[in-house]
Amino acid sequence: MSTATATAVEPAPETTVLRRSWKAPIWFAVFAAVAVIFFGILGEWGDTSTFGLSTSSDAWEIEPVGVASGPVGLALSLLCAAIAVYAFVLVGRDRPVPIYLTALYGVAFVLAFLVWAVAGEQVSLTNLLQGSLALSVPLVFGAMSGVLCERAGVINIAIEGQLLAGAFLSAVVASLTGNLYAGLLAAVVAGLLVGFVLAVFTITYVVNQIIVGVVINVLVLGATNFLYSQLLAPEGATWNSPGRLSRIELPILSDIPVIGPVLFDQTIIVYLMYVAVALIHVALFHSRWGLRVRAVGEHPKAADTLGIQVNRTRFRNVLLGGMVAGFGGSFFTLGNVGSFSQEMSAGQGFIALAAMIFGRWSPLGALGAALLFGFANNLQSVLGIIGTPIPSEFMLMLPYILTIFAVAGLVGRVRAPAADGVPYVKS
């Protein structure tokens, strides 16, 4: 096997926009106007929005912070407006809008929204973030599975099925053996099996990848529902009482105010998630293996010419992706609820797919998108409790609408690996 040289593949997918694009500043301005009008001028002047910054079990108790809703909402909205103006200036000088500016804009907008929505009430920021992370974990694992498969050129619509299979088998095996770690292993095996079916049909039999993915989701759904009704529901004590993984508090790190308890007082699944994201990022972009995988996903013929075995690489990546997503599925059961219930993944696999696309097929981008979607979802349920003017269903729609915007190029073009979804048949 010859060593692949870096010249064979295009570098990173982020290419500089050569043509002037006014899209970003215009959208910035539109949303800033909305913020200034609704969160600022029409905001709740006279109320205070109170944010709790610690929980009772923390090392340092921090007093909840109360801010005057009207002025702070207006200030944050004006910050958004200022960023929009700066973005106009940048584009006018033919310079791209840097990513940090978009991030800053997003944070300011979300904070302005929060201040407006929480007016007159109190919300614990720590709990909000904790809940967001919990909702994000399956998304992150699912999105990593997507990245692994699609960077190698195989579309993975079956994330949903992999998550569900992982959740199911982990609960069953943990219940039967009484060992939660056996359950975690079983989740990996379940994901591997689903990944294997996907790989065999898409790579060996060259069946359309989207069709196979959709059908696998139906298959896993049917199989787990069937077995649930036959075995898990009537004999819950034997088949469906795995218990939950306990949280492991990391010393020192978990004492950091606000983010400590959020990030470092978690189950082993979450810690492995950090490891997985970092590992996949480094492996994909800073290792020979990753270069080969990306070559296979971008230009399989060139990769083949260089002696990389295209279909073998793809097969391995699909199996690997299946394992990652299957492991993530165990979070539904062992990491969160402590038992399996029907259709537990509830479309999270598709949100994970959306997160991967929104994150431009990169591990870190997908992580950010998954966290954002988890945050939106949790914000919706938190605000549902205190009551807000916006119906919760619209908050729940947010990730999907954002993804449509993303693929429609309204917030910058996203580009899939060039050979994603195209089977490679040696001629």
Partner: protein, 415 residues
Amino acid sequence: MSESRQAPVSAEAPGEPPPAESWSQRFIRELTTGSAMVTFLAVVLALAIGAVLIAVSDPEVQERAGYFFSRPSDTLSAAWESVSDAYAALFTGSIIDFGEYTIGRALRPFAETLTNAAPLIAAGLGFGLAFRAGLFNIGGEGQIIVGAIFAGYVGFGMDLPIGIHLVLGVLAGLVGGALWGGIVGVLKARTGAHEVIVTIMLNYVARFLIAFLLTTSVFQRAGASNPVSPVVQDSGRLPVLFDSTRLHLGFIIVLLAAAFVWWLLSRSTIGFELRAVGANPHAARTAGMSVSRAYILVMLIAGSLSGLAGVMQVLGTERYLTTGISAGLGFDAITVALLGRTNPWGTVAAGLLFGALRAGGVTMQAGTGTPIDIILVIQSLIVLFIAAPPLVRAVFRVKVRDMGPALETSKGWGA
């Protein structure tokens, strides 16, 4: 490059037979090695795997398997009983019930099959038509929901004379589906957004939309605490065709829709353009066809076909809106269309088969306690197997030809 795919038309046109072959020889060859054979073997294989699943998960079989090595016949007879009972119930629940005394009552299960088949076929046509134009319309679910919202609103929210009410309700459903499908077509044509992603996302948007609407005073039934709409008025309902069945006019409409799609695809200029765009958009553009127009048009029609399925749900069988109005039909419809090889009459046949499985599954669950979800397993396995003829060939050690590229073509995310 990523969109270049072979023309799916070759699936129906297997080419000239060798000259020495008589029509009867050709008929037998088609029967034993053609697509009918693959479909048949795929169904057999899927039912066999389903049988294994039923037997293995049966508590009685498990109990007897505890002493398998001392008396294996016990286990096997229990397994046989479990499987044969379930499949017998599947049959009596979907085709004909020999336990009944009059023909009308004995055939009631068949009417139930047709009732279940109608929305499946409609949504299946919606997937199949878009597929012919090279688009994956995974958005059947959302289009069904929006179609049902529109049709349902006309059905319970408006007071109109008999006849006009029904016609307007059906049209509203078609418009609703077309709207939801049209968004996809426009985004695909104008921005190149991949239709798979957009349709999946729109499914969820539609799901939350109906959940929201059913909490508003316009859509929620007066006095109800759960999210259900008022019942559709009598004048807005699809009339029942035979007494004591649920079979309604929708089935006839669906057959007309299938005929329309057949005519559109194989007899009209528009259909020719759609197929040309589906086979090779670059060539179609070079030939002077408007690819954008084709994408928008096909998604409008496909959306309205899925919307028709929503009409049947709300004006035919369910008669009021719930959050579960689409009942997974959108995804089942994909398997229906694929089994029917995305050709209109094939979709009708496949819809009848899956309608039978759905109808029989209910009887099976009630009669033998076998969960209806086994139907999903069987359906998805059938589609997987017909999509990979080499696998069927290997399992049964028979000669079957590859089906042509209908299900094997693939294209990337890139627009």
